[in-house]
Subunit: 372 residues, 4 copies
């Protein structure tokens, strides 16, 4: 028996910096402003599946101890990437009732939010979504929690790698996250001084990359270059080895593929190195902006619960936090880079190659993605 309103909070999908800052804001605002009880649910839907009295006690979140959450990466609630939600729909739905929740705040990317949205629909939950993803591909919000930190992490890595590339006159290929959307590669590439940026949304050709690297050498007297590759780009059909290689091992990625291609750009072999940034892109202390976005999202999600406005996602639009219907978000996600938008021309104005519109045939992506 409870005598206060009780809301649950969970994190779902790949972790990123700023999740804990959302949790802190929710606990703080729900407690201080509304005097609600906040229940932290572990491991996304898994926590609902295993809802028990003991769990309940373990994760009661209050003001004590939440201060450090602001600057702490990851999520204290734990998270999972792929749950067995379909196989356990009814138990998960029942968990919401067992925990006697009045509302549930779920922090996730477009995949997780979609699953939670469906569960909420079936289970009649009072659900509010908070967008998080370093890929920044959730629709209808300019920013998702974690993106700004990831862009900074990659930008700093590019700066580091530039020194070593320059010292050795190498072409450094840097593979970054981004399976379906290239926001991360594009923004960090611009901020980090890349010479080439390859993203899933814009076709490229090996000839285009090679020509650009040759021009760069002619134009700027420098022999090194930085090539940023989103992990989700496709191989150019018919190109040698990588597809075969990937099938054999599932260990190589598109960074390695591009490096193999570039090394044969000219008669004189180009010296390349590949750096796969990997999980450090998910880590790190959240940036100030991510903390601000996370805090604003957490606070607004609680206000929506107070107003009884459900099936909504909090969103960042025009420097403000608003609520948008989850249904609409789902229809438009994942949201890709607009090849005709303002960022691609900006990249080109700096002399960056970001693809050339050359046709290349659509083929299935290599199954080399490994950074989830």
């Amino acid at each position: 028996m409870k005598n206060r309103k009780r809301i649950g909070i969970l994190t779902s999908g790949g972790d990123c910096p700023g999740l804990n800052a959302v949790i802190r804001a929710v606990v703080s605002h729900a407690t201080l402003t509304y005097d609600w009880e906040v229940l932290g649910i572990s491991y996304a839907t898994q926590g609902l599946l295993e809802a028990k009295a003991t769990t309940l006690k373990m994760h009661g979140l209050d003001l004590r101890g939440i201060d450090p959450l602001l600057s702490m990466g990851g999520t204290i609630l734990g998270t999972i990437n792929k749950g067995d939600t379909l196989a356990h729909t009814s138990e998960i739905i029942a968990g919401y009732q067992m925990l006697e929740l009045d509302a549930l705040i779920g922090i996730g990317g477009d995949g997780s939010l979609s699953i939670l949205h469906n569960l909420a629909h079936q289970g009649n939950w009072n659900f509010i979504g908070v967008p998080k993803t370093i890929d920044n591909d959730v629709a209808l919000t300019e920013r998702s929690v974690g993106f700004d930190t990831a862009v900074n992490t990659i930008t700093n890595a590019l700066n580091s790698l530039t020194f070593t590339a320059a010292s050795h006159d190498r072409v450094m290929i840097v593979e970054v996250m981004g399976r379906k959307a290239g926001h991360l590669a594009l923004q960090a590439g611009i901020a980090g001084g890349a010479d080439v940026i390859l993203i899933p949304e814009i076709p490229y050709s090996i000839e285009g990359v090679c020509q650009h690297l040759a021009q760069l050498r002619d134009r700027s007297w420098r022999k090194f270059a930085i090539v940023v590759v989103a992990e989700g780009i496709e191989a150019v059909k018919g190109s040698a080895d990588c597809d075969g290689l990937c099938q054999l091992t599932t260990k190589c990625g598109m960074g390695q593929y591009i490096a193999d291609q570039i090394s044969h750009c000219s008669a004189e072999k180009i010296e390349t190195r590949v750096s796969v940034l990997g999980h450090i892109q998910r880590g790190g202390i959240p940036s100030a902006l991510d903390r601000l976005v996370a805090t604003a999202f957490g606070k607004t999600a609680v206000d929506l619960a107070a107003q009884g406005k459900y099936d909504q996602m909090v969103a960042w639009q025009n420097g403000q936090v608003v609520a948008v219907p989850l249904q609409e978000v789902m229809l438009q996600s994942p949201s890709p880079v607009d090849a005709n938008g303002y960022l691609v021309p900006i990249a080109r104005s700096l002399g960056i190659y970001v693809g050339n519109g050359f046709q290349f045939s659509q083929q299935s992506k290599p199954s080399c993605l490994k950074n989830d």
Copy 2:
């Protein structure tokens, strides 16, 4: 005699991270896309005042050597805070002609942009403004170059200071920049976990601060606190010492004033320390977002020059770069924190004291500002 279009670029007012990234974008886009000549003008209007053939040669900016500018703080062109523009208006105006400029891009805060706007009007210059200020108080743009880096710098400093404050159970007063606007204090205070944030736009009372610190101790079992003070807040009328102190020395600031007041909150003396962050707020490697904003601004300013759209300022609105009439910007700048906007309630939802609406009489500000 020149045979290409020539644009000038200058930086004016206090420096900040990202200025060089604007310069790089302007040089790159003007050269690569339009094949213009770019002339870097040293020390703001001072460079126009002293325009000579030799100067011309010294600051011809081309693609070679601009790569490092992306991540370099400060401005390679130099800048000045307060020029003698009124005494030398005609010479400065003549400098534009002597340098045979077709257009001038000026990067500055609201003060500098206002001066340049007036000079442009009088001299019939083709002028385009780019907003920069760590105070973020230029109107009609969500972001100015330098703000995001400064927020991160302060946020990191607050995290550092929290550890030492907590170890010693002290109230740490952190004085940050912001004479007329509290954006910096408010956003960094939220992101950095402040307990109290005092900004020029919102009246506060010493009683309010004292009560809040006492509540905090009761509520969260912790004996330390972080108080962020924008340098431009006013002393409460009639309060002891500081005004006198300031007149004597011009060496103390409002951080010290608040510390003096807090130390007498209760019968038991509260241990305080003051940290004046000072010029490190202007320094540092620009954040990824500041580099992106700077690059987008520089590119767009060049496009405006290509289109012959002058008397405009580039601005960040809704995640896009647009042009706004400088005249309108000047009328609405400096742009303060909206006490009824969305950020102040967010701060309060975290239990932060940001002023209480108590009346306090308007008196002249102490002349203690020293961080320009």
Copy 3:
């Protein structure tokens, strides 16, 4: 009644990064290797003074929860700078017995270690000292916990300030900690690219500084300079204002004094700015080396307790951790910069002014020190 060996651990004096890493190593090694109980004592000798059964339970430290201590600044045990040890010697000594300690590990600088050494002598404690101080002036050890992080913090700050100084052609005076010893100013000044470094150990003259700044301008075509001032330097006798100023307010420091002097170096007024780094020098995430030193010290202190070797301090010598008699450490501390050692010539080989051996009369130091 206890059935395992029990050791106490406390932190004393000003906090610094790495204290928590020592605590973690002590808890880990004592628990895993020796199966001892570890008792964390709060607020240095204050915790012994107030030793009670309740305290006992509160600070029992075990393996659970110590992981985050490695990278956490400050001290979870709390600390005090100036305790009333003389007035309460017998109660403090009794606290050791009340807590049924078999040994006590105390982490402190030369002042704290001296007090603890005396208490241990009077109370027959089994005491082992661990040196920590950002000043690095504890004798017989090359490194104390916290020093490396503080040097990095200042070095980074100098890099930041250089950009803003250069943009405005200013002489930036940076006041850093160091009352009795200039290790911090000297090492960070060398690493951070200072032009002038003033430390307590080496006399300087205003003429020397002025001449050097003039030479610098002639030699390197640059008009800005970075002057690092240890807070503990003395004013040159007979120089104007500052002494008076300080007596009036106790608010200014030696950085401001030097700035006032430099501004009158030449007929043309030199533009100066002062940056007092303050408590951020004590904060921050500990560097890798400080974590390594802290861990090695904590582990070795536990081993000394296992061997029954007391009245010792752990020390870093020749890249190894050794034990040295506390008595000898006390006799030789605080350990100043050796003006004839290897670092001062290194600074001079870079063209840095570090004092010139000019005589200046000894006078009492201004009472302006405020960064404890």
Copy 4:
């Protein structure tokens, strides 16, 4: 014809942070103290091979423009990893004469220094070596330029990865540089909170790792772990796949191998992720200590040239810079981690698994090394 003493300086082998700080110190000290001319030689021995009058002019290094070198990663002189020195010995030797050098300062790791030492012997050069390597395996010096920064880079990466590992309850395997020596893995692993550290010098067993991970879970209630793997460890003989895998692709490394083994530790599959830190370990802004070491080395190398003491290497011993005969350095390099030294027990005192002395048969290393 030259009328001043002329020394050359070159960087050789893989780049690292701090090389430019050595160059700056050499130029500064040679110019200011001795009034020598300093000639920067590009791309290690390649620059000697191609010595020409034009090259001469291009790389004359003077005081102007060397300031930024202090904090700049990489090497402005460029470097190469594997030169054709054997095929071109006589031309390289002749280059020294063509450039009319009075002495040559070479910055390199144990491989490069060995080659230069031999060339110097054959060519009768006046040669002085400066040790640099992120592996820290040059003998007779406690520190080499670049090591401290690399340890900090890895430590920070481990902190980042810990958050994401903890959020997902994963075992995160982090592959770091270190082919022949595990100093980097060991020190960063201790500083970064690793649970397992595998280095070339200490045999390990998969069973040992598995048992340790199981104990860790029992002991500390946590389900994630951080495993640091030096790239140069050997596979346990007879273990499945990796050898085969490597032969097929040369794309996997020992991190992936260990992950494959760990995933089968228990009946319940353990979720692992691999992060190969790669070239970011060579990049980054040099730490304060690396700048200090680099500066001290550069200054001392110049002093040795002034004294006519050649065939020496500058070295860091007992917190001082000394000269040691290159011949002796060569005999004892590469210098491995001492399995019986003080650091391995320190790691074990924290509960870290660093190998167990189990025998494993020596087999040839897989040819998977790719981070040079």
